[in-house]
Symmetry: C2
Subunit: 407 residues, 2 copies
Amino acid sequence: MKFDTYFTMNEDQAAQYASQKFGHMFEPGHRVTCKEIGDGNLNYIFRITDEVSSFSIIIKQSGPVARISDEFKLSPDRNRIEYEILKLEETLAPGLVPKVYAYDPIMNCTVMDDLSDHQIMRKALMEFKTFPKFAHDISDFMVNTLLLTTDVVLEHKHKKELVKNFINPQLCEITEDLVYTEPFNDYKQRNDVFELNRAWVKEHIYDSRPLNLETAKLKFEFMNHAQALVHGDLHTGSIFVKEDSTKVIDPEFAFFGPIGYDVGNVVANLIFAWVHSDAHQRLEHKKWLEDTLVETVDLFIEKFQKAWDRNVSEVSAKTPGFKEYYLQMIMRDTAGVTGLELCRRIIGLAHVKDITSLKGKVRMRAERICLTSAIRYILDREKYMCGTDFLETVIACESEFARENDE
Amino acid sequence: MKFDTYFTMNEDQAAQYASQKFGHMFEPGHRVTCKEIGDGNLNYIFRITDEVSSFSIIIKQSGPVARISDEFKLSPDRNRIEYEILKLEETLAPGLVPKVYAYDPIMNCTVMDDLSDHQIMRKALMEFKTFPKFAHDISDFMVNTLLLTTDVVLEHKHKKELVKNFINPQLCEITEDLVYTEPFNDYKQRNDVFELNRAWVKEHIYDSRPLNLETAKLKFEFMNHAQALVHGDLHTGSIFVKEDSTKVIDPEFAFFGPIGYDVGNVVANLIFAWVHSDAHQRLEHKKWLEDTLVETVDLFIEKFQKAWDRNVSEVSAKTPGFKEYYLQMIMRDTAGVTGLELCRRIIGLAHVKDITSLKGKVRMRAERICLTSAIRYILDREKYMCGTDFLETVIACESEFARENDE
């Protein structure tokens, strides 16, 4: 079989493809086996394993439409973006992304490290595991990939060439629709609201004029504010973890957007894990998540400031007060995006298992704590300046729910 | 002579070039003459005239460096940008830009209408001429070229492709340096401050921490806020006028930036004309300029709102309150840029004749009215909501100068 025209491979074809194109990575004469292990929304993930040595690699192939819904037609250019971004991120944040070996623009494949000794973080957190290095690693990843791709650090012409190279219209459109538009506009074709919260969502989300206005403002900031090369999908399903290692994967949504988009996604997904642990009354794990949430935000701020002092030479950015202004803008966007992500994963098309695995009133309660927090994060987004500010909101909303429901 | 390799043409060569490439535009057998008439900073402008019929065209050629200073190395890609922008602007704002006939990517030339029946507006205003249609025309031009290239109107993926196509790193760098950086940072290599105001500029501009901080914020908004396809250099030297016609030329600085960048440039340059007429005690002309300034801003706002209601179908942009928020953001940026342009033309490298043609204390006074106004526009930029707000500031600063100097 020749692989000179694009088609979507099955397991057998992917195994053949690996032998033919990347045979040199395996022991001579050994057979390889292949298993499709993808459970994401957009791509096919093949694990190719040497039957004797057990050495394995991953081949990630883009399909022409999203797996989640064939309404989303996607240019396979996202695979080029993903490959280039992983290469770039490895130089900016070494050790925190998988190594990539090759990119095939015909088959729309990227070949990369197999991280099967790691676990998807969302799943691990739902098993109540803890990762002591996580806050350190993810804050390193964010500070280094984000601050170092802004024009407070990069030469301005070089930064504009990067902006051009990573304009990502189709993937951004998915985010614009699923995150910024549909959850706030009663988009019946795709929204999916848990029945016990339907009336509440209508009253407090769909019909809230202040919320609609503030999310519209945030949407245009997302579309127009080319601040830094954001990952664009930095939830706990895009992070592989093990005890001593964190790897951020799946940067196909990457583009130049607001820094707070990444930070807010991390915070919101820690909150999903928090309500999940709370629902299961795993109080120790819940406490670890609270500490991790606060630590993640505070380490981000602390490292961001240090990295700023070390790296920023732009004359205007060095103006006294500018660093504080810039960081405040990031925190404001972070709070806004935390709220958006909390809403869209509960109301919109793409849910998270932390929530959907819960049943009945337990799920209703978990969602309501997330949604009431979300509204505050969005409407009061100017007020969030440190990790504790973020944590206090969910704790207040939890108490409020208990009071209002006579728990 | 073949024109198959780029070189900077002289008049004879440009005449040959026109005969050879665009002979079909002239009467058969007629000779053409050529005169270089450019007085801008970046390009060579050849007028090619049919000796018998007097029909003429303009050939605009980009040089490899700016005429103003060979420190600015410029990719001739700006000529491609200019050609494409003029074509696009003609569809968005018909009749308000010169017609373009051809673009030659080898010689970096654009061939366009000769507007020699028009006059450069700065010069005309310095001769105390008035243009009754100007406020109407320029507000039409701005509303149509700006609002219609935002993503409140354009399909989002299409808008992102346009952003990509018009990323303009070198020309933006000139603006970042000359407008946003050097005038506020005592950039001795290039700034050029009139001696009677040197001490004042040091105290009130270079040493003003609030001003430095606010201009730094505006600089990053200019660089990162890809709101609309702005002209990028919309001063009165980029506008050709006659009694019944307005033509905007020279869009080579165009890129996706903040709408207020264009509006603020128009306002600031009307203020330069205003202090010039004031210095010459041409009170009637000064009054016309006051009316025109107010009318330009108010017509812009009025037409912008009407065009919004007619053209905007984006679901989030239609949220009640969003139009008002968006317009307020534009007015805030307009005020900021008005202040920046007033400063940079007095302090920075590229001055304007409205000011430099004045002498001694008359010039000192004119500059001081501009600079004190500029500081207010920048620091209080949230407060400017209509044309009168803009006018009141210069009138207040004029009175203040009179009081402080016992006039």
